[in-house]
């Protein structure tokens, strides 16, 4: 579908611990694909001028929702929006996840990485596809009741580093513990260290489709500024844009070595 810029009214809000779920009326965004994001203008207080990208957490005919974690000035403003407030959105933007017919999938989320994978799981369910959703978090109570809400709809397995929810360990440990047969597709979204160890471990697990959603700071969101790039695995090096070529990439498109270097440097 054609991306657009439009105003959307906040029609619902729920608190889930660290994250706030915002539901907005957005008929224009119908047709958003899991993995795509909306680029949201965050008022303009304290000199904030740029938009902030947020994955679509869920979409219905006339609404979409986001999951916003408060990590700075923009997200703090966004999480403080109330029902009736107006947001200025651009989207849906970027390349979403590819889903094959009849495929059985594992979806691995770390932290707020749950957002695009939650939407993906919903779309798979609609298409009658089998999907296992694995979600790792730091503290087991970080997301309030959200794990229970999601578990009501999907086959959800949880882990937390403090062991308070699900198994003690990371989302990658969840994947290792997952004994579901016949899964050929793996999808992941989460912090970079998690994605790095996931790719290390999953590369030889025989998935025929392995896609990751990668976050990078963004300016334009449409591929014009080359600000949001991800190192690409072609022999000549170079970069792909997270906003237009991504945010979803095939695992093999990404130069994980350079990503690892930039984290450990």
């Amino acid at each position: 579908m054609e991306p657009a810029r439009f105003e959307a009214i906040v029609v619902g809000k729920r608190f889930h611990g660290y994250a706030t779920e915002l539901l907005v009326e957005a008929p224009n965004a119908a047709g958003a694909v899991p993995g795509q994001f909306m680029h949201i203008k965050c008022d303009g207080r304290d000199g904030v001028i740029m938009r902030r990208p947020y994955s679509v957490f869920d979409a219905a005919e006339n609404t979409i929702s986001f999951l916003v974690k408060d990590v700075g000035r923009g997200s703090a403003w966004l999480s403080a929006r109330k029902t009736g407030d107006i947001l200025d959105l651009m989207g849906p933007l970027g390349r979403g996840f590819a889903v094959g017919d009849g495929q059985r999938s594992i979806l691995v989320a770390g932290g707020t990485g749950i957002a695009p994978l939650h939407f993906l799981a919903g779309c798979m369910k609609e298409r009658g596809l089998c999907a296992f959703l694995l979600w790792g978090m730091e503290g087991g109570d970080e997301y309030g009741e959200l794990p229970n809400i999601i578990a009501d709809r999907f086959d959800l397995r949880l882990s937390s580093m403090d062991g308070k929810r699900g198994i003690r360990g990371s989302a990658v440990d969840l994947l290792e513990a997952c004994r579901e047969e016949g899964c050929t597709a793996l999808y992941a979204c989460g912090p970079r260290p998690m994605l790095l160890s996931l790719t290390d471990r999953a590369r030889d697990m025989g998935f025929t489709l392995f896609q990751v959603s990668l976050e990078e700071r963004m300016a334009c969101g449409v591929g014009a500024c080359r600000g949001c790039v991800i190192p690409c695995s072609t022999p000549t090096g170079g970069y792909l844009s997270a906003c237009r070529d991504g945010p979803v990439f095939d695992e093999g498109e990404v130069d994980w070595r350079r990503i690892r270097e930039s984290i450990s440097a």
Partner: protein
């Protein structure tokens, strides 16, 4: 919107007629295609492309962006697919659109600049060149030309000799005396100036004591830069006899009018495109509305309007007046 009877928003600079004075800045509009879903590029007065270098260039490591108060830091570097791809794919597409194109030229040596500029000129697909001399020089470190006006002048005359289309030089706001730089560019053969480029700046993450940008430093753009850019245009407009394309934090039609009143013949919208795709259209409309309200018939009347006014200077000081910021 319907054309206004009696209001001529077009401008002409170095023989190029623009249907309105609103362009888009180099590096903020890709090669035009990226925003074509969002607005018809043909509505623009003109378009300035992302920097083109001789060979493909990967640009800087990531992260490349950081937001600062009313501004954006970027360290994209000169990422582009190189001259060959540009001439084959991008420039013909832009030419097809029929809007005047300024090609932003960069290089890592004088030879590279000359080669890129002359091939673009030879292609006959560009309206003008914009020489990005506030770009790095791998041998001698970033911002080299801004610190070395004489070498910049030599570069400009080398390029000037080899090209048939108007040559604009893009100036850095980090200049002890931007008037002097502008005068030297004029003497070296520049046909016009575009100003300003981003301002070298940086931010640190105090939690890690590391720079926010992988490249350590970056360029500041956006509203924070605007009053610095207006002053640069004002100063240079009084010092040279070249058309100036004004840019730097233009965030509304008011900022655009201000820039023209300071002396710019046209303006270019940069960082704002990222926030509001299609913003140039609103600026064009706003400018037209302002002209109508003020009874200004030609956009060209706006150019340098504030420079032509008597400036209020009440007397009566008992000590010499001074020009300090305090």
């Amino acid at each position: 919107m319907a054309e206004d009877k009696g209001i001529d928003i077009g401008v002409e600079l170095t023989g190029i007629r623009l249907k309105n004075p609103v362009m888009v800045c180099s590096g903020t509009y890709g090669v035009g295609r990226e925003y074509s879903d969002w607005m018809d590029p043909r509505e623009l007065g003109a378009l300035m492309t992302k920097a083109v270098t001789l060979k493909p260039c990967a640009g800087n490591p990531t992260p490349r962006l950081w937001e600062v108060p009313c501004g954006l830091l970027n360290s994209i570097g000169l990422e582009n697919r190189g001259l060959k791809r540009f001439l084959e794919d991008d420039l013909p597409w832009l030419h097809e659109m029929g809007l005047p194109v300024w090609v932003n030229v960069a290089g890592f040596s004088r030879e590279e600049y000359v080669k890129v500029a002359s091939e673009v000129s030879r292609s006959s697909l560009a309206a003008a060149l914009e020489l990005n001399i506030s770009c790095p020089n791998v041998e001698k470190g970033g911002m080299y030309f801004s610190n070395n006006p004489r070498d910049a002048a030599m570069l400009v005359s080398s390029v000037r000799e080899m090209v048939d289309i108007p040559l604009y030089v893009k100036l850095s706001p980090r200049s002890s005396d931007i008037k002097e730089m502008a005068i030297m560019m004029q003497e070296a053969g520049a046909d016009g100036l575009s100003m300003v480029n981003t301002f070298p700046a940086m931010a640190l993450d105090i939690e890690t004591a590391r720079p926010r940008l992988a490249n350590v430093t970056g360029g500041l753009s956006g509203p924070a830069l605007h009053p610095i850019a207006v002053m640069a245009v004002w100063e240079v407009a009084g010092a040279v006899d070249l058309p100036i394309i004004g840019m730097g934090g233009i965030w509304s039609w008011r900022d655009a009018v201000e820039m023209m009143m300071a002396g710019a013949v046209a303006v270019a919208v940069g960082t704002l495109n990222f926030v509001e795709p299609g913003a140039p259209l609103g600026i064009i409309d706003g400018m037209r509305g302002f002209m109508r309200r003020k009874g200004i018939e030609k956009a060209e009347q706006l150019v340098g309007m504030a420079r032509r006014m008597e400036v209020p200077r009440p007397g009566g000081e008992y000590e010499g007046k001074d020009n300090a910021g305090g």
